[in-house]
Each structure stands twice: as C-alpha cells, then as structure tokens.
C-alpha cells in the first residue's frame, strides 16, 4: 500500500512494538502529527519542553528495557533534545530520536528553523541518519532500532526532511537487518572465559565490580548466582545499583567518590577485580596511579573501547555480559573441587571486609529538631513499594539516594550517571510511569534541579501520571556548596538559591497536590499522605541546609584517602 513518509515512519514504530512516544509538534513534523491524529496503537505524550520529552523517552527505556522514542521539530526543537541525547549516550540507553528537518532542497540554505542536528549530535549519538529518499525510510528505521538496542546500546537520531515525509511510496518493512560494518560481539571467547575462571579461582581477595552493563544486559540473575557461588563481595556503581540486591550480605554498596568505606578498601586491597559491564569512570577509580594496586583485573564488556581505556587489564573478555556470566557459571560448576577450596579459603577476606563494614558503615547523625535528608531517604525506602521505581536528579540528593535507599532489583533506579544532568529526574520518572502505569514511581530531587524541568508537572497532571516528586529542599545548590565549603574556604559563590519557592502552591498551580514537612516528626506522615494521594504529588522536605555527602574521596585523591567526617 502506498503511504507518505510520515505515515511510513509511524508504521515502522508500530512494527518495532513501540506503544508510547514522547514528542512535540512543529512546522517540519506537522505531517507526522497529521498522520498521528486518530492513529491506533501509539500513545503519544506531549511534554512541555523537548528536553523533558527526551528524558522521558530515556526513563521509559531504562525502566522497561525497550527502546525509547522521542520526536521533535527541526531547529530549536532538535537542539532542545541534545542534553537528553547526550544523557542517554553516556549511560548507554537505547533510544531513537526522530527530528523534523527542512525540505531537502533547502538544507544548507539557513532556512527557517534549520539546524545541522546530525552535526551537532555526532559525538553524542551511537549513530545518525539523514533520510534523503522516502524509499530508504523503512530500511533506515529498521537499522536505527537495531543499532540502538544491540551491542552497547545508545541513542540513534533519524533526521527526516519535510518533503520526505510528504513523498509517497509502497510501505514494506524489512524482515531482517544486515549491516556489514556493524557486527557487535555477543559471545565471549571460550578460551578467555576458561582462563578468567582459572585466574579467579587462584585469587584470595576477589571483588566483583559491577556497572550499568549488567542491568542493560539483563544479567542481574546471572550475576547474583555467580556471586553466591563464589561467596565473592559485590560493589555496584551508581549505574549498577539494583543489579545485585543491596540487602545481600555480599553487597558492599557503591565504590568511588561517595562510595562506602568498605567498597573502597576492598578495591584497594583486592588481588582480583572482576569488572562486569563497568568502565572504570574517574568518579569510581579516584587517582589512577594508586587504584587497586594489588589487583589483577578481568574486564567483561560488550564494548571493546571500554577495555584498557583507563586502567590496565590482565584479561579482557568482549561479549554480552549475560552470555559471558552464564558461561562462567557453567565453567565453575565443572571446576567443583577448585571451587570448594576457593570458597573455603575466602573466609579471611570475608572477615577483613566485615571489619571495614563495621568500622565505618554508611552512616549519618540523625536529629530530632531538623530533618536530615538521609532520614527522609530511609523513610522513603521503608514506606514505598518493593518494586517502586526511583529516579533522581544530580547532586547531593542523588548520592544520598544511592547510599541510603537500598536498591534490590534491576531497573528500579534511573539516574544520570555519566553526563550528570540536572533536570533529569522529573521527566525520567514521567517516562517510567508511562511504561508502568500501575507501579509506584518516585523522583527524588533537590530544589535546584527540580526547577530545570518543572514544566513537566503539567504533563504529569494532563496524562494522569501519578509520579511522586520528593524535593529535598536546602535552598542551596548543595553539591557545589559542599565543594565550596571543603575546598574553597566556604566562599559560597552563586550556590545559594536565595528566593524560597513555595512548592506547595506550585503543585497546586499545576493542578497537583503538595505536602511539606519542616520537622523530623512530620516526615513519615508527609510521605504517607503523598503516597496515598491518587495523582502527581510534590513532597517537600525542608532539610538541614549544610548537610554534606560523606564519605568523600576528594577529586584526584586515592580511594583509601576518604574524608569520613568533616
């Protein structure tokens, strides 16, 4: 059947199983919106800003594991998606972004609302396509989804000129996709896996260092099995939180700058680090020269460029983590005798780790007169559903959430780890709620970041997405203030927000509900009221203004040089 390009694009989305998209109309996508009018099977959510829409598609993808889809018009619509695309790229989130473009004949002429979005996003997309012929459109859409979700996932941008949307052709969706220059390695090399297991069984102080790749690769079960077989401690990065149950006795919590004492000490004293879907980010390693000085390193990753990028690696395994971990488990089962002696020898390491855990657990000093943010996070964990999805913004509240909200399941924490995007939390929660209308979705924000995409309150109310917005209000840009306190002699340059916002009235202005707690004994009730309300809610907590995130490894210091109390 002949269709125009706009319709073909939408039919391709349906063929890919896309049920929800986030988009904003405009001059060069008006034909798409015309075709969308009355279409069945695609739920379109209209954000109030393209950045919000892109983060929502990202949150949808992270929570569900499906490819998130966002649409924006050319020019400013397209540039507004850039932060959302870069956020997804840094955290390897599968997304397809469709941007309108001026008609092909006008490209390069500085036409109205023209921008070279392919050029602008080149370094923050996994790949991008400019569709120049309607006959190529279906094939490109197929490739875009395939590239976005395979290998190391990432955002793919499809730039669709207006005349291509109008041009007609026969719609045929390709059954298969073949890109000869793109063949991601899925299966780990069997010899390398064999060697890795041998190396691992010869060690005495192993640490499984787990990143977001385990969640993206749906390998949490395999990881848990492996850890329990080996009785090996597990430290999960910010992106990896939830890949291994935080309440398991083998869990060390997060490593790195605001990681736990025991995780950082374990990394420093380990003789065997198995990095699984993690990339040795500078926030994790601290000073590279003194990172894990005694450890041999096995690195499992689907992306070869992650391996040996920052640290030396003794044994690399390129492959899908789920495939590699299940093969390691099979190999371990075959090495029964060696495994037994390995496990019986691990108690000394276990004791050493428990010593560190007891010496400096992640902790804070609670107060009866002023609300401590950590207390709010603990209460939220206590009162929320087991399968609640949490998103965060970026800053102190993000680190407190990582430290005190125990994540026990994969895909329950959505947070901008790589790019560190303030304003991510609220729209990401919106996307997650669209993916799971029946689950509890909570976004934990600071009073700074929440204002960066606060307009999406309207989208929540309009679409009946009952996201619970928690604002830890210290009237500061708290993380930068903390750095200023510790490293810049308390010169609080431009980090005090000064004007107090009445977030309760703001919630009401959008047609939502607001609750505020100013004293510790109001915290529990505020959370209960917020959770009980059947719609989007702001819960505002007036917290201790100069509370710090601790422990902290100062930038450029070694992991064992933690500031524990300051």
């Amino acid at each position: 059947m002949k269709m125009n390009g706009a319709r073909i694009m939408l039919e391709c989305l349906k063929k890919e199983g896309v049920d929800t998209i986030f988009g904003y109309p405009g001059g060069t996508v008006i034909n798409i919106y015309d075709e969308l009018f009355g279409i069945k099977g695609i739920n379109h959510i209209l954000p109030r800003h393209e950045q919000g829409g892109t983060h929502a598609a990202d949150g949808y993808a992270r929570a569900s594991g499906k490819v998130g889809v966002a649409i924006a018009t050319s020019g400013p619509g397209a540039t507004n998606t850039v932060t959302g695309i870069a956020t997804a790229y840094m955290d390897s989130v599968p997304m397809v972004i469709i941007t309108g473009q001026v008609p092909t004949a006008l490209i390069g002429n500085d036409a109205f609302q023209e921008v070279d979005i392919i050029g602008i996003t080149r370094s923050c997309t996994k790949h991008s396509f400019l569709v120049r012929d309607v006959n190529e459109l279906a094939g490109i859409m197929k490739k875009a989804f395939y590239i976005a979700r395979t290998g190391r996932p990432g955002p793919v941008l499809v730039d669709l000129p207006k005349d291509v949307q109008i041009a007609q052709t026969e719609f045929v969706y390709p059954e298969t996709v073949e890109i000869r220059s793109y063949k991601p390695t899925v299966e780990g090399h069997p010899k390398q896996i064999e060697r890795a297991v041998e190396m691992l069984l010869a060690s005495h102080k192993p640490v499984l260092y787990v990143g977001g790749g385990v969640i993206l690769g749906n390998a949490a079960d395999e990881l848990t099995t492996l850890a329990r077989m080996l009785i090996a401690p597990v430290t999960t990065t910010l992106m990896g939180l939830g890949a291994f149950p935080g309440n398991d006795r083998l869990s060390l919590g997060m490593p790195g700058m605001h990681g736990s004492y025991c995780a950082n000490m374990a990394m420093t004293h380990s003789d065997m680090i198995v990095a699984i879907g993690a990339r040795f980010d500078d926030r994790v390693t601290g000073k590279l020269a003194t990172f894990a000085p005694h450890a041999r390193i096995i690195h499992i990753d689907v992306d070869p460029t992650s391996i040996k990028k920052n640290v030396r690696v003794d044994l690399p395994i390129v492959g899908d983590v789920k495939d590699v971990l299940s093969k390691m488990i099979r190999q371990l089962k075959k090495s029964d005798e060696k495994l037994k002696s390995f496990v019986s020898g691990i108690s000394a390491w276990d004791e050493e780790i428990n010593g560190w855990k007891e010496k400096h657990p992640i902790n804070y000093k609670n107060s009866s007169s002023i609300i401590k943010p950590q207390y709010v996070i603990q209460k939220l964990r206590e009162l929320s559903d087991d399968d609640a999805i949490i998103s965060t913004d970026v800053g102190q509240h993000q680190m407190w959430t990582a430290q005190f909200f125990q994540f026990n399941r994969p895909r329950t924490l959505l947070s901008s780890g790589g790019l560190g995007t303030m304003g991510y939390g609220l729209p990401a929660a919106m996307g997650a709620q669209a993916a799971f209308p029946g689950r509890q979705v909570i976004t934990i924000c600071g009073d700074g970041g929440v204002q960066m995409n606060i307009q999406e309150m309207a989208t929540l109310v309009q679409n009946r997405l009952p996201v619970k917005i928690v604002i830890l209000n210290n009237n500061f840009l708290g993380m930068v203030r903390q750095w200023q306190e510790l490293f810049f002699e308390k010169r609080y340059s431009q980090t005090c927000l000064e004007l107090p916002i009445d977030f309760i009235k703001l919630a009401e202005a959008y047609g939502a509900k607001g609750f505020r707690a100013t004293k510790p004994d109001e915290v529990e009730n505020t959370i209960k009221q917020g959770f009980a309300h059947n719609g989007p809610v702001i819960m505002e907590f007036m917290i201790a203004r100069e509370e710090k995130v601790l422990p902290m490894v100062p930038a450029g210091a070694s992991l064992n040089e933690m500031v524990l109390n300051a």
Binding site: G119, R122, H127, L130, R132, I179, S181, P304, T305, K308
Partner: protein, 163 residues
C-alpha cells in the same frame, strides 16, 4: 610513535566527518588523512597517519572500529605496508639555481610540470621520507609553495583488505 592506519568505510553521507570528529573529540592527532573511493562500489578507503603510545593507538583502532560505517581498520605499524605520497612543489629558479633544481629533480626521479622564467613546479612521488628529503634540498634554493597529498598505503603481500 607514528602509525599509518587504513580505514575502509561505507561510502555514506557524513562518514568523513564522523572519522574526523572522532579524532578531534578524543584528542587524537592526525598528521595526514586521505580519502577516495576504492574499486569496490560503495566503499571508500582512508589512510590516516597518526601518532601516540600503544594505549592511545589501541584506543584509536577500537574507536574507529566502533563507528557504524567503518568496515575494517588495518594498522600498518610494523612496516608491513608500502607507502607513497605525492607533492607539488613550486621553487624559485633563476640564473644558476635553475640547473641545480633540474639536477635534484633528476636524482629524485621527479618531474617538472610547469615552468616560468622565475620558477619551476615539481611533481614528486615517493615515500613520505623521500618527499622530506627532496624538500630539504630544495628549501635553500627558495621554496615558494608546497602541496602534499598525505600518505596512501597498501599492505605488502597478504597483509591488507581481503588478503
């Protein structure tokens, strides 16, 4: 250490800028870059001369391979390739230096491709080292203008694209 890398790419829209922005975005050096279509339809070949330690070169190789449009990366690190470069060189040539220029051109098996009463334009082909050598000799005579193509390389014997 200098390395010559051949990159086979799909002849797609924007592929050169993907490769170029990979180098600039990650702080890798490009000493020279040439690109043109190959005998296979839809396939272009780039020759990139770059530099860096082993760790950086490994990253360059991996990052190039990661680009969707890149079909194959061949690193000619170990002298396994024949390299050639062409230079067009305009030199001052008046009075007694005219004969000297001709002698140099003859020794290097180069060609004069344009003559005026005051200058010669020379076409020289050879390994990048040979081009450097002829330039060293011509420079004192008055080098007015220089255009170099950058190296192109092809593997010796079985080394290379499809053996």
């Amino acid at each position: 250490m200098q390395h010559t890398i051949s990159v086979l790419v799909e002849n797609e829209f924007g592929v050169l800028s993907r490769v170029a922005s990979l180098f600039s975005g990650r702080g890798f050096n490009i000493d020279s870059l040439t690109v043109a279509p190959t005998n296979e339809e839809n396939l272009s070949r780039m020759t990139i001369v770059t530099r860096g330690d082993d760790r950086i070169l490994e990253q360059i190789n991996k990052q190039l391979n990661k680009l969707i449009d890149v079909l194959k990366v061949i690193d000619f690190s170990d002298g396994s390739a024949v390299e050639r470069e062409m230079a067009l060189i305009k030199v001052t040539a008046e009075d007694e230096s005219r004969a000297e220029v001709l002698r140099i051109v003859d020794i290097f098996r180069a060609k004069i491709i344009d003559v005026t009463p005051k200058s010669y334009t020379i076409e020289a082909t050879g390994s990048p080292l040979k081009i450097d050598a002829i330039l060293d000799l011509l420079r004192p005579l008055g080098l007015k203008e220089l255009v170099r193509t950058g190296a192109v390389a092809i593997g010796r014997g079985a080394k290379g694209w499809k053996g």
